[in-house]
Symmetry: C2
Subunit: 230 residues, 2 copies
C-alpha cells in the first residue's frame, strides 16, 4: 500500500501509537497488508474467535470491542479499543488463532498490519524491536495500573479516573462524547449499571453533568483532587 | 557462567519458564551475566527504584516482592513473585531505570540475565524472539484475567481461585504453605485483612482449613465447582 494514501489525521494516529511511531515510511509500508486501510460498518466483525491470526489491527477511527464466547454459550466483553490502539498482536505475531472476536462498535477504520512481516522487521531493525517491546510493556503497565485501581479504589474514584482519561484533550466546561454506552462503562470500571447511575448522580455536585452519551466536566482540577492520594 | 553449575532443580525451573525453556544451553550461557546465580537473604534488595536496569532476574527458589515508593512517602506492594517468574524485563530490555524496588521476602536464589545481550539474541534467533514475545504475552493475558476477576467476581471467588492456584500440585487433604502473609494475600486479591479472615472462616464449611501460614483443602473438586460459571 502507498503510505501517501493515509490522511493527515491517520498519520497523527500513527505518530501517537507507540508501535508505529518510530518506523520509517518504508518500514511501515513493508508491513501494511494488501488490505491497507479497511472500513467497517457498526456491528461488522474485524475477526472471529478461532480464525487463524495473521493481521494486527491499528484503529484509525471509531471504536471496536473484543468479546469472547464462553463454554456456557454466554459472551463476555473483554475490552473496548479506540483510535491509536493495536489489536491482536499476540496471536498475529505468534501465528495462533484469534482467542476472541472483534466487532466494530461504531463505523470505524483500521490499518491492517502483517504479523509475520513485523516479526521479520523486528529481527532486522533494532529500533523496531525495542519500540515493539516498549509498546507491549506499556500495555503491561496499563494493566498493572488497572489491577491496582480495581483492588484499592472506590467505584467513585474509578469513574473519576475514567472520565479524566476520556477528557484529556477537552477544555473545562466543554462537552465531550462518552466513548460507549453506560452499561459498557459500568463493565469497564467493574460495577453494576445501577451503581454507576448512583455514582454519576453523586458526581453532579462536583461539576460532572451527563446528557445521554455526552458529558461535561466543570473543572478537571476538582476531579483530579478527588483521586489524589495524600 | 558454566551452565553445568546449575542444579537439576534449577534446570527444571528453567524448563518451566516460558522465557528460557526453548533456549539452547549455549544461548542461555551467552545471556547469563557474570554474577550467574545470586543468593539473597530475606529482606535483601535485588535492586532499588531508580537504579539503572540491565539485569533480568529469573527466580530459582524463594519469594520476592516488588514495591514502589509513592510521592507521599508511602510504599505500595506491586506484586509478589516466585520460582519460575521473571522480573524487570521491561527496564532491562529497554535500558531504563528500575521503576520500583525488589526485595527478597524469604531467603532466595535468582539467575541474573543480561538485558542487552538478550536483545541481541532476539535479533539473531527467531525462536528466542517468538519465545520472548510469548512470555510477554502470557504476562499480558494473566493480567487481563486478573482484571476480569477483580471486576466481576466476589471476594470469596477470588480467594478460592488463589487457593486453587497455590495448590495446583498438591493432593486433596495434603497440607501446603501459603506463599506469604495473610495481609499480603488480602492485598493480592484486593480486600482488607478483616474481610479476608471472614472469608477464610466461611470457607471452613467447604473444606478449607488454615493453621498460621499452612492450609489444607479437603477436596479441590468442591472449590473448583464454587468458581465455575454456568
Amino acid at each position: 500500500m502507498n503510505i501517501a494514501l493515509l490522511t493527515d489525521q491517520d498519520r497523527e494516529v500513527l505518530k501517537s501509537s507507540l508501535l508505529c511511531s518510530a518506523m520509517s515510511d518504508a518500514d511501515l509500508a513493508s508491513i501494511i497488508t494488501r488490505g491497507g486501510v479497511i472500513e467497517y460498518r457498526r456491528s461488522e466483525y474485524l475477526f472471529e474467535q478461532g480464525e487463524r491470526a495473521e493481521t494486527i489491527y491499528l484503529i484509525l477511527e471509531g471504536w471496536a470491542q473484543i468479546t469472547r464466547d464462553e463454554v456456557d454459550g454466554s459472551n463476555t466483553l473483554v475490552e473496548a479499543f479506540h483510535k491509536g490502539d493495536c489489536l491482536a498482536e499476540a496471536p498475529a505475531l505468534l501465528g495462533k488463532a484469534y482467542p476472541a472476536s472483534c466487532q466494530a462498535m461504531t463505523d470505524m477504520r483500521a490499518l491492517a498490519l502483517d504479523g509475520p512481516k513485523l516479526l521479520d522487521l523486528m529481527q532486522t531493525n533494532r529500533t523496531v524491536l525495542t519500540q515493539s517491546l516498549a509498546a507491549l510493556f506499556q500495555k503491561l503497565h496499563g494493566l498493572v495500573d488497572d489491577v491496582e485501581w480495581l483492588k484499592s479504589r472506590t467505584i467513585r474514584e474509578r469513574l473519576v479516573r475514567f472520565l479524566l482519561q476520556q477528557s484529556e484533550h477537552i477544555n473545562d466546561g466543554q462537552e465531550f462524547m462518552l466513548p460507549f454506552s453506560k452499561s459498557l462503562i459500568a463493565a469497564k470500571i467493574g460495577t453494576s449499571p445501577q451503581q454507576l447511575s448512583r455514582t454519576f448522580t453523586e458526581l453532579k455536585e462536583h461539576g460532572v453533568t451527563t446528557r445521554g452519551q455526552k458529558a461535561t466536566i466543570r473543572e478537571r482540577r476538582v476531579l483530579r483532587a478527588m483521586i489524589r492520594r495524600h
